[in-house]
Symmetry: C3
Subunit: 472 residues, 3 copies
């Protein structure tokens, strides 16, 4: 839409006073796929395009309406030069330094891997041609977006550069192409922009691996305990339980463990600070990394909890469950006995479900507030209120839900098949530890010390401490 509008407005108001709108000329260095796509897009938006090429007369098919020249000639005909060349070939640009002086060079390059070079491509370019104004930009877009204009995940363009005016010129082009531009500051941000398109969920890997590992472990554990045991000892084939019943045990177990793993590092960090008596020592690396993926841990746990909810809600429409209920009713009639209504049982199961629902509700709330647009409008006081207070409440509800599930079965020896504990008991270990440790931290004496430490207070003689600090 924007494309159409812009091109029209250009062709229909030739009297406009802005020089920028009168078919400005843009220069592209490089006639490869990237250069051709970009050039075509510029043309459609109403720009004139000139290509700079080593072999201007044999550089392959270019978009109709453009022309190829030598680099020197092309550079002189435009103020903005888009560098669509691989970084490996940048060095020849050094010879063009006089022609490129004062020009805005837009570095759209990406690398194939992270950390291939000691400095960002754009910084390297700036070093080669100190007289030019290098702007990094457009590199976070997909090829599709570069060729066809903004689409869904490609609406936002990041630029960075040391010159305000140069950035402004590039922002104007990007806006005309229909993109929303975000200024990321000086050229030092170029490295970040160049790494961005290469990443594939880096912070999600650890949580996903953990979830996969735990799921696999508990699946086989419960497979042995529930299905194979039954087959070997009772000679009963209950393999159909794998699809729904077993999964509905594995998911909540893994979910609860992962939820508690979100809160464990915070508790460990607090005890570490208490032990050290200062907050000015860095945490060990593994703790830092753990703390950085808490959000992802929590969201994976939420996904598993949601599956648990859906699996639970389909229980009454499952054939197996309907069959068992009917069989129970039939046997009651045939044996002509009536089981009396058990009020304790009613209380127990209702509480169990209700605590689970409330826990899941809070959990969803935590998930919603971790949406970027929601967490952005929260002050950190609000954010920490939700993620910490409500987070621990969620953990408490979910743990309590599991304890209610166990009820009085904890001490029944009949539930220990082949010396294997029921799965839910295993899942209670970590959350219970976390909740107990958190309770300890809330004791007034401990809480007071911790608060003081977090406000900058340090234990022991400060003079001695300072020396130690200076030595590290």
């Amino acid at each position: 839409m924007s494309k159409e509008v812009n091109s029209e407005s250009v062709s229909l108001c030739p009297l406009s006073t802005t020089a920028a709108t009168e078919q400005e000329m843009l220069c592209i260095f490089g006639t490869g796929d990237l250069g051709r796509s970009l050039g075509q897009r510029f043309l459609q938006t109403g720009y004139k395009v000139v290509y700079g090429s080593r072999r201007p007369h044999s550089c392959g098919p270019l978009p109709p309406g453009t022309q190829a020249m030598s680099h020197v000639a092309a550079a002189q005909s435009a103020r903005l030069v888009f560098i669509c060349i691989h970084r490996e070939n940048y060095d020849f640009l050094e010879t063009l330094a006089p022609q490129l002086k004062g020009k805005v060079l837009v570095d759209v390059s990406n690398n194939l891997k992270k950390n291939m070079y000691p400095e960002a491509n754009a910084e390297y370019l700036q070093r080669l041609i100190p007289g030019a104004q290098v702007v990094k930009g457009f590199n976070t877009l997909s090829a599709w977006a570069l060729q066809n204009g903004p689409s869904d995940a490609n609406r936002q363009v990041y630029v960075c550069g040391n010159s305000l005016e140069a950035k402004q010129a590039v922002i104007e082009v990007a806006t005309k192409l229909g993109f929303t531009v975000l200024d990321r500051g000086s050229l030092t941000a170029a490295r970040e922009l160049e790494d961005f398109p290469l990443q594939l969920f880096p912070e999600w890997r650890l949580p996903l691996k953990l979830a996969t590992g735990l799921t696999a472990f508990f699946f086989f554990y419960l497979l042995i305990r529930d299905v194979i045991y039954s087959y070997v000892v009772n000679d009963k084939d209950v393999s159909f339980r794998i699809m729904a019943s077993l999964a509905n045990k594995v998911f909540p177990i893994v979910s609860l463990i992962m939820l508690s793993l979100c809160y464990l590092p915070g508790v460990i960090a607090a005890f570490l600070q208490l032990y050290r008596g200062t907050k000015y020592k860095r945490f060990p690396d593994w703790l830092d990394r753990w703390m950085l993926c808490r959000k992802q841990l929590g969201l994976v746990a939420l996904a598993l909890a949601s599956l648990h909810v859906l699996y639970t809600l389909i229980i009454p429409i499952r054939y197996y469950v309907r069959y068992r209920l009917a069989a129970h009713t039939i046997s009651q009639i045939r044996e002509n006995k009536t089981s009396p209504f058990d009020t304790t049982m009613a209380w127990r199961t209702d509480s169990y479900y209700v605590i689970g629902i409330l826990g899941f509700g809070l959990y969803l709330l935590l998930g919603i507030t971790s949406l970027p647009s929601v967490s952005n409008i929260l002050s950190w006081r609000e954010f920490s209120f939700i993620q910490s207070k409500l987070g621990y409440l969620t953990l408490f509800f979910c743990t309590f839900h599991t304890y209610l599930y166990g009820w009085d079965k904890f001490l029944q020896p009949s539930s220990y098949k082949w010396f294997m504990l029921p799965g839910y008991m295993l899942s209670l270990v970590v959350p219970s530890v976390v909740l107990v440790l958190k309770l300890l931290l809330l004791l007034p004496c401990v809480d007071g010390t911790l608060t003081r430490i977090r406000q900058g207070w340090e234990r022991t003689d400060p003079e001695q401490e300072r020396k130690k600090l200076l030595l590290t």
Copy 2:
């Protein structure tokens, strides 16, 4: 809140060094409803306001504390002039060109329809008064927000203009009024800003129409097949099935078809590129338009799938279902027979439900990542991973879910009533075709060629190809 704060800070710190905060004067041209609302809001924020009017002494009630002057006098008393006049009346402004020279003119106008004029209002204004610095802005706000300050969907203000300083001055006013400002670049973006308030879900129309059409078709199809057939042939009134049972067949059918329609255009495009041997030819218009509404197609399908989930989950609390289950149990007892437990049936129904749940879970994930704030933080590598890989997985799960539903009923002649196939069979056609075509595209030889084409490679003699390209 911000309003209050700003007005206070103005009145309480008169020693502030910024001239901008000392009751700056703003000029408004036009004393209609828009001008009056805007003026009132300026007053409340701590600005002084002067109106420019043709008949300064009989221009109707103005906000108390403001005054009306002739256009010439009003223009001279302020640096910023807000033009609250209909575009039809802009031409008289040309006579004020000398007085408006160097002023910042804020064009807040909107049109009643798209494309009423060849150029944007703001560009027309700039052409009339070349010496002024025209800034487009505020026009995307509702009248309510203009009068009362920012509220929910009215927090963001877009501005565009050719002069950086002029924009900065307008941004300052908007920020003081409590809005968040987004700079959309030069004045060429004005057209887009002017079209924005006129649109009413333009990209949603096609998907919604399609959903309505498909829903209506399958509703009547199944009405005949399930309800009317039963009434005519078996003389049984099952009209109550319309509310829940029938809807719960229509929704998943339409949802699955629409989900597969999200992926069909991508597959068609790939085959088109393979056939043409190049990616440099534009797709036909219908394909382009289809591809642009894929997200909306998918979200409508997700909404229908969610309804399907809720409809399914209420099955066991429906009177009809409870009655039937009880009747079945009672008949078993009265006839004194016992149906044995059918392990295959247990496997089959459980698999059917579980695949459905997993498909829906993935579907929800796709929906969440299409939230603007989430897709913005994804790199396009991540976005395409989710939308393409996970998308096809979702389609596969949902299709497989439907096949499991059919199971061995595909070849039962008893399910062909009045020669009408069951609805779910019809729904399987498009998804199956999409999945098969996608599988073909994943064959190594096809995939390799396609990848090369998408990297810019072109089939056949490039010399000949270039000539063809130059001729088109």
Copy 3:
């Protein structure tokens, strides 16, 4: 990640032409906890840091690699000075005015309460040192983020200030530290930035209080009616109903009432405008405040509605329900009677569920569109279409759902226990009133007048009206 990248790029490209990247020196006034945390972070990002202190030789442990000087000396060694001092101690800075002239002063301070001082800290600072360029910033970050760099809810930094270049310098530092920066305009926005970290869901308080009050009231009301009545009159202990059955009555009742309270103020406002014959009089304060928390009212109501859905969906897996169903089947067999299938009953319950599902679906849609990132991309025409048209449709569906629940029980005297009406009847009062009033407003004659008023038209003699307006 960004931290690592930035520090590397600094150390590895010392030839970079940008002065900004060559170990720029930053000055921090104040060696308290805030100053030390900030300094450590600067060091890690590749800056040099110097502290200004009253007692440079005994100011406690500083991050290794930094040095402390007198304020005068420190100020001269850097262009940017971060003021990490409590506002109470700002006054001594006045004596440093000559040294701070032309410097960029970054005010990162916060207050303990709102409105402690007549002007914002940053404005006070600017007044003390008129020759400096004060920029407010970083104050919305948590201590954790200041010390360790951006994390989840701490990615966004707001700055404001009167000097564009000063802001640019601060934005550059913030970007290098890894934050995303949002320019909030001139220094008058400082007050808002300083209030931001102090707020704890201000707009949520009223809705949450209301929800708590209504929930408590209906809980005790229904406790008496359902549980205590049964105990006293029938001598039956149904206390187990408290956990699930009772809650599942309270939640939908409160949810429906709160949903209707979202739409009541809009209706009241319309009638007020009709009565007054003008839109230029401000609404009473209570109405304004009510209208401002409509979104929060609606979201709390949505949360309660979601709980209602979950509570309803677990009905068939509850022990009590299963017991009762089995008991019913058993009694039917023992008494050897068959209850015939009741088509009306099937229609009624299905309609009841289906209308509820559709209402909840629309409700979720309203909730999704109130996510900031979604409402931001909607034009206000679209937003008001959803929130108004779809909103009233949602209210209608939910009200109708409740009426269907009542069905023919409205006039049954047996449902009036101890003269107490069933809860759902009470919940119908407000929504019914709102819907009837809205219907009245949609009558052509009323709608026409209202539209004219909202377009600025005023009733009665305008001359007289203007006089009245001028007098107020």
